[in-house]
Symmetry: C3
Subunit: 159 residues, 3 copies
């Protein structure tokens, strides 16, 4: 088992793969943070989706008024869904990109810009900042993933 | 090609990676099951989102009444979305964790608790069980992914 | 670093892994395309979800009328969510499948059918085609992922 371990850890010892692992973990944790922010707004705005979640606030009819949508909760949920739509392709394509043998500096440039763009996107969505702030940060992250996909397809192409 | 195959299968022969592959496949299949449950409730509750899906039940105006939302359908859809928000980070971070060289026993502990928590979460959401059943199972799964992310960042950190 | 690189590129030189990388990148790019189609419909239908997105069309009360849902926008969003629910399991299980040592011809058969089914699914959803066109393409993609999961669990099983 030790021998196999050694072979496996060769992957995590590779610098490009370490950079990929670091940035992937960071953007996935950022995405997971949206769940906690949703819960925070659901509790402070008293706006829930499930009857069983309102039981703390009263019984029967008096609890039903907390089954509602709230603009702040819906905003966080849209931001969370946007993360799923953009961070998931980054993690999938980024893994293939890291295995396609890019230069460390080029890879770091891609990962740093993507992570920065998505963190800015979250602030732009939640504050909210006036457009085109959010739109541009979406476009920057999108372009980084597209650029990595181009390198993957150029290296791996086998239909 | 055989020679390369041999190298590749070293990964799947590693016990930690085999455990990761097993639990990842199980939780992804569990997530996919939500699609079938949604379809089941859409058909039995006759509640559809697309006009073309109601054609079986009549033509023109008579079919329009089946374009509606149903509480049971919406509940399954929320459960499915919650799976996407939690199982996807587990699969992504879990892969990096499996490659970061954890002890087999520690890795199995993480994977088993996560899979158990998410299967319980589905029952808690669909039955539904009174809170904090669902909330706690969400928190347990969340903590497992967070713990794996900590190990990944500690091992791979390269910004 | 060069030495490690060489080991890494062994993975991307493997034909099954190259096929997986190609088809994964293609279906993830197809999924990302849904964001652009949503934006296109939001602008042409003038139907936005965030007040700050309507600022181009006027100030104050006159901009509020563009905060609405539109059937075409909602249709693209449902198609995008369906992609997340189906393409994400394909990418995750497909990676494990590619590492489980399948024959190249068998792997290519799986990847080609899945990609074809999901591209057809998008057209069936957006045109829209009468059922069961969309339903069948969903079922075909679903079955491919299920078949790959079966191979993964048979090869890797370790609970």
């Amino acid at each position: 088992r030790r021998g196999e371990m050694a072979k496996l850890t060769q992957l995590i010892d590779n610098e490009v793969f370490r950079a990929y692992a670091t940035y992937s973990a960071i953007v996935l944790l950022k995405m997971m943070l949206m769940s906690l922010i949703t819960t925070y707004f659901r509790i402070t705005r008293k706006a829930f989706a499930n009857p069983e979640d309102t039981a703390t606030f009263g019984k029967g009819e008096s609890a039903k008024k907390y089954l509602k949508t709230d603009p702040d909760v819906e905003r966080v949920r849209r931001c969370h869904l946007n993360d799923l739509e953009n961070i998931v392709p980054f993690v999938g394509i980024g893994l293939l990109y890291a295995l396609s043998g890019p230069e460390l500096s080029t890879a770091l440039l891609h990962f740093r810009i993507f992570a920065g763009a998505r963190i800015f996107h979250t602030f732009a969505y939640l504050i909210p900042l006036p457009q085109p702030g959010r739109g541009l940060s979406f476009a920057v992250g999108y372009s980084v993933t597209f650029s990595m996909a181009y390198k993957v397809l150029k290296t791996a192409w086998l239909l």
